[in-house]
Symmetry: C2
Subunit: 218 residues, 2 copies
């Protein structure tokens, strides 16, 4: 055993791949997910199913306060999730301000409480233009901050922060990740829309990894 590790699992491709990855390295894993009333709350279901499959203890925490504090197109019913690529201006509506900062702070509190030594999360290189709190610079600063937040030291690990989503899919292929138990589409209907920025990026990643995406599209 390599020690106790908390993994933040959104139920999307990146964090699910990370979960398989961390498991393959022999950590004692405790997975956690956050329900912030995201329209794509379907990802919480896939997160749970993956943990059942891998026999990993899983907890879901209610983070609806994030929605109260700072609403966005990902959480508000009256704001439409835009179509198009992440690079485009209108994708800014999908930014939940400080989402990673808030989730990682709570995850640190959890890690301190259960005396875990590591905290893993699946930030990657792809989102930077619109999501400032995915940048490596931000992650480095936050790691130091978390290390100083309690006498019990928790090390933040973001092993995919230098990779893009395609590289992650390639890694997932090696690990045999069951991507049918992942959800990416921001719209959260029965089938993925294939049109929002999140869907487009997912489809490009599968293409790069020369895999078929096992989920259904509209």
């Amino acid at each position: 055993m390599k020690g106790k590790a908390v993994v933040i699992l959104s139920g999307g491709m990146d964090s699910t791949t990370l979960l398989y990855d961390v498991k393959s390295k022999g950590y004692d894993i405790h997975a956690i997910s956050f329900d912030y009333r995201q329209k794509h709350s379907k990802e919480l279901g896939t997160a749970m199913q993956t943990c059942i499959k891998l026999k990993i203890p899983w907890k879901k925490f209610d983070l609806s306060v994030l929605n109260e504090v700072a609403p966005s197109a990902l959480t508000r019913d009256d704001w439409e999730v835009p179509e198009g690529h992440y690079e485009e201006e209108n994708m800014k509506q999908t930014v939940v301000p400080c989402r990673n900062l808030v989730m990682l702070s709570l995850a640190s509190a959890y890690a301190v409480g259960i005396k875990a030594k590591y905290l893993f999360y699946g930030a990657h290189r792809g989102d930077h233009a619109v999501y400032p709190d995915c940048r490596q610079e931000f992650i480095k600063l936050l790691s130091k901050t978390i290390l100083h937040a309690d006498w019990h030291e928790v090390q933040l690990k973001a092993p995919y922060s230098g990779m893009d989503k395609g590289d992650i899919a390639i890694r997932g292929k090696e690990l045999g990740v069951d991507y049918s138990l992942t959800w990416t589409c921001y719209r959260g209907k029965e089938k993925a829309c294939g049109k929002c920025g999140a869907c487009q990026e997912r489809l490009e990643a599968f293409k790069k990894a020369e895999m078929d995406d096992p989920i259904e599209y509209e």
Copy 2:
């Protein structure tokens, strides 16, 4: 007007003094408080009363998730708040892991949402032995992290971080703070207990400032 500023107001002595202080300097203030099911939730009432008195917009956010993620003697009914001074070993039970990190992260999200330029909080020099996330070193790191969490930059300000509670009370005396509208005791009964670490520190601060404490003790 000096610009928009969010002030985190617990309803205790320090943050209430800070609110008067920031107001005296002419900022456009938005005060926020967090309900994390603290036993001393009476402080939320005094926070509201102070904001009514000073005509400052005030919001309260539900942070019960902090209690779920990491329970402590401040929130759990079955854990007794210990008597004695902060320096003592048993006061460690009152540490809510990463409480400041979590609150400041959410406050940053709020500040980004309303496009505030400053975020003020009342950390001071007194609590360091048991509360690692009140140290100046931690505050410095967190300031940098928050500055990088969004394209809209929020500056964290902790002007009392080099002062002790007695110094704050002296400043409060100059500002004419109404300390009858503050609550400190961790036990949250009708009158303050006078025995817990929080009460002892408050009483010492009033002594240093040569003031009478206007609240009632058991």
